[in-house]
Symmetry: C2
Subunit: 322 residues, 2 copies
Amino acid sequence: MSTIRAAIVGYGNLGKSVEKLIKSTPDMETYGIFSRRDQLDTDTPVYSVDEFAAKAEAKEFDVALLCTGSATDIPEQAVEYVKHAPTVDTYDNHRDVPRHKQAMDEAAREAGTVAIVSTGWDPGMFSLNRTMAQAILPTAEQHTFWGPGLSQGHSDALRRIDGVKKAVQYTLPDEAALDKARAQQAGDLTGKQAHVRSCYVVADESEHERIEHEIRTMPDYFEGYTVEVHFIDEATFDAEHTGMPHGGHVITAGDTGGYTETIEYILKLDRNPDFTASVQIAYARAAARLAEQGTTGAYTVLEVAPYLISPTPLDELIARDV
Amino acid sequence: MSTIRAAIVGYGNLGKSVEKLIKSTPDMETYGIFSRRDQLDTDTPVYSVDEFAAKAEAKEFDVALLCTGSATDIPEQAVEYVKHAPTVDTYDNHRDVPRHKQAMDEAAREAGTVAIVSTGWDPGMFSLNRTMAQAILPTAEQHTFWGPGLSQGHSDALRRIDGVKKAVQYTLPDEAALDKARAQQAGDLTGKQAHVRSCYVVADESEHERIEHEIRTMPDYFEGYTVEVHFIDEATFDAEHTGMPHGGHVITAGDTGGYTETIEYILKLDRNPDFTASVQIAYARAAARLAEQGTTGAYTVLEVAPYLISPTPLDELIARDV
């Protein structure tokens, strides 16, 4: 296949990351962005989503990267897009993935197209790692830890407290819990025990004590968790706390007759949407290849042969990486 | 497929690990061990390698796990085995993998069988991780570090020194080098700079100074490396240094426009052959399934869809892990 022409659907954080990163992807170019908005602040060609079907049927692009929201957009609209072109999405409602895959599979088979669903890192690379590590160590304990990562909902909750000027909340894996998981001793450690909620807050010093108390006693959000509260000045906040870091660990520790074998997969991401976009782009390459081979239907990352996501030819991969 | 019947070829450390671990593999059973030796210390049925072809053609087993050595056995004999049955090997001569795969592919296609080559962890899981991480972060720096791991050749070199009663050498990644790789600042760090050679030696105290000097100045093996020499007593040696630990890190750090995204895959193995066997068993499952589907030819881990190595049905995997 010559250069893969990629359409971007949606222009939020993820769509902007995809647009940026395709520029440094040697075998792919952006065809354009499909949006419901009339004007976007970009040099990339912008089309109305209403034009998607016609442009797709005219084969003006090879694959569509669906970058709209998982809350309602993907479950409602993805099946419409895949009727006209190969799609890759990052649908992240874990419980609903089986239904989504099924719906996409039916639509794709009927239309003769292909979909790769729920790429990204969790679901996505973490899913792949969970499956493979459990397959290799079938008697293992497996734990997923998230963070250090920006928690949007908890940051919003902090900002609703009277007197808080700026605030973010990061969720961090508890170091002791990580070590227990690595030693196959974490048992059924719960999310509360396994994570620390670390808050960075800008507020007048006279308010610190009251604000800290309100944070620590906030039900559902902070009460019952290990909570750290750091008051910092506004300049520090602006310099150090406006990114979108995330990541986590999948730790699988299994016994092989008195010996412990541990597999750990770690992501440390300075910018969450950039990494999600990086994975989505790699699987867009796989979707374009599957479509070219005539494969139809919907697939998860578990079903895609790994070499299909690489821009490097298979023979070179085997010589370089195996 | 009902229970997969696995034949083991060769009964060294790897073959013994495979035999042990299949016992806790729910969907697999050991058919028997093919060996060139008349008698093995095992309750498993033992057959002469001369009987392999006939037993295979009679479909007495579904897949053969080749557990013979990579030095000469696999390159010379694997093509003969795959003419009669699906095979999985752990051939670990990295530079020769392309030739081996090609030879196995021709033999397997002609015979209508299937081979999965060079499974294990490096090559194997590390290969897979290198390919996928570079596909996701195409502009990244990538480094593989090995250890802490027992180095057989270097341990032998220590034991050849006059006055050394017992000795082992572990190769460890240098912590500072790991941190540089995670921060995308390791550049073209060489193996010498990236690893520490840690020696545990039992010898009379009067000999320590001379032995340490001989170790540190031994060309090729230790000279030019960061070397630690620990003299310990024999009881400590017997209690703590007779295992076969190994492992390592694949670290891939890429820039996404001013942000660093880091993927790290870590193996910490108490018993190297047990983990290699665990991976080989998982890919034996994949080989049996590919054979059942009528697929022929030779494949690396890069070409096998990940769900095929799991004993869990795909729908359950998607619900559980994605």
